[in-house]
Amino acid sequence: MAIISLLDIAKRGLLAQETALGVVGQNISNVNTPGYTRQVTELESDPSTPTAGGVLVGTGVHVGAVEAVLDPILQQRLLRAQADTQHDAALHDRLAALATSLSDVSDPSLASAVNDFFDAADALARNPGGLAERESLLGKANLVASELNRRSSFVAGQQRDADDRYVNVVKQANADLGHLARLNASISAAEIGGQRANELRDQRQAVLSDLSGLLGTTAAENEDGSVTVSAANGAVLVAEGSVVHSVAVRAQGTGLDGASLHEIGLVDTAGAFIAVPGAFPGGEIGALATVRDGQLVTASGTLDTFAGALVGEVNRVQTNGGAGAIDLDGHSTASSPFFTGTDAKTIAVALTGANAARKIGAALSTQPGDNQNALAIAALRNAGGIAALGNIGFSSYLAQATAQVGEDAAQAGDAAAASQSLQNQLQTQRESISGVNLDEELSNLLRYQRAYQASAQVVNVANQILDDLLRLVP
């Protein structure tokens, strides 16, 4: 073996250790980079060559590859978990807000406003001629109406908010689709030589995760390193370096506030909108659609049913079923209903003006002190079997509605906690495989540093041998 060969071996060793040190440095500098996959240097010994004596001797070392340490199956599971987590969290956030705002567990609440209204009716029954009692009843009725109006407006606002977010999610998703197509192209180009574009792949994984969280999409890797992104119904969104179908929204249906709602669809290369019902049931967009078209509509319906029943029942008593009760001035109330409106949005007190309180039909006769009809209004509090409410009473209906929104939110909360827990587990698994451990990297740093020093020492030794040989030359 020639002395010069020894220098070559030392040189290759220096270059290989230098590269390995560079990889360690890259890992250390990305220790806090979200989604970063640690890399390892694959060192391979160079092939042996025969010496003058015919003995095979190795020729050094080279870097075979710089590999990202990851589990592709785990990456896929993480994408699905991201879709579930974002879906369940969005659902829970919206339902929890709904449950809190429609809550009757603490004052002020609709239940307490209704109780106050009937309390005032009871007070009127004790003093049917009292103007103060009459004014109080009107005031409490106004509170009930405004609380129903407020809740109706809140639910409609929640639905509009969900629809606005729905539209924004589609915009974000389109940006992600374009980004993915570009990354696909870059990765395919970079990996033509057989090396892996680890950093680009990490970037793409982050975008895939974001998109999966938004739309619940799936991704499959191709041989050229690109990924094909698909919707739940199999429609391809991104293939290789192109966006095959972008996503878009169009007006579809009417919201509780009277304005249009939207539905997601695909856009083909010619720009035509393709409706794809059921293509995006997962991710945040699936949750938004579920809440917007499901629970919020149900909650609004519940409020409307309650308001309609209250209007109907109180007016029935106020007008004595159309036969007319008697107001404080002895007039018939047959054409003088207590409430106007038909639902939570439109309910209002019909008795207005300077003499409004006198128009309450507290009596069934013109005799002074008659409180029969005031008693009938107060008795509505405990009336069961109200047909419009499904044959139960007002307080039972509110209790049922409270339980329903609470149960929806609690179930969504449980689901969100479960999916978050699963994602955390998967993330822990991923980190245990792909995450950077500084202690490990520092050990590697020392290891490659020592190897580098040793290779340098080989150069030194080869140099000394050459010096010794050269001194033999006269």
Binding site: V105, A111, R126, D370, R381, T402, V436
Partner: protein
Amino acid sequence: MTIARVSDSQTFSLLVDRTGQLQVEIRQLQEQVASGQKLLSPEDDPLAAAQATRVRASIASLTQHGDASDFGSQVLGAQDQALGDAENLLVRAEEIATQQASGLVSQSERDAAREEVHGLLQALTASGNTELAGRRIFAGLALDAPAPFADPDSAGYSPATAYDARYTQDFYVQTGSAASERVRVTTKGDQVFEPALQALSDLDAALAPGGDVKGTLAELKQGRDALAAERSSVGARQSQLTGRSTQLQALVVQEQKSLSAVNDVDLVSVIARLTQTQTALQATLAAGSQIARTSLVNLLQL
């Protein structure tokens, strides 16, 4: 799940996540301590939330029935007082009639007795016109209404027509949820006072020269009996309302206990959990700090 190695990111994420969870828990516990309620949203316990809504409605209803019972009891108490006064007037009238019926009294004594009887008639009329907080207790509890009984000194006065015919409405208070759980608290003044007024009016006339005083004794007794009978009825209804009020108060207390059970926080338990959670937070932070120091970076003094 087996973890073979731990990344630095994982260590710090775990620390941040756990710290965040504990801080959220502490905030929730603080909210419970501050509000005294464990049920802050229907999501916390949907069934308990529904139960709380029902119980609150029940408490409101029971309280109103209690208020109605108390009000009725108050009205009947005032009626009892007025009827008792009226009975005493009739007793005094019977004494006068008995004295004047002997025939041994002079005309001047009869004139004096007549004047007293006329005063009794006015007093009885005033009893019939008794007001409670501006409401006529023998006239359907009408508010700010004119006196139902005419002044005995008014022209053309007659006990038979002294009562204003408009006041014939019975007034009930609702003491329970069922339609039948009502108690009448009014006493129709004409039915109760008219015999007594008539008797006093007749005695007044009989005390005039040549009048038959003796003949009014039976009528006075009838008038007194009518008052006593109504007083007895009033007493019975007042007793019923008093009993109902006591019962309703007990029911309200029971319902408040139920509400408290589902809604109110157990302070001892919550404060214990708060302390425990704060300790866990301190331990988590201390452990995080300790783990951060255990690194090759420190040991190699790089």
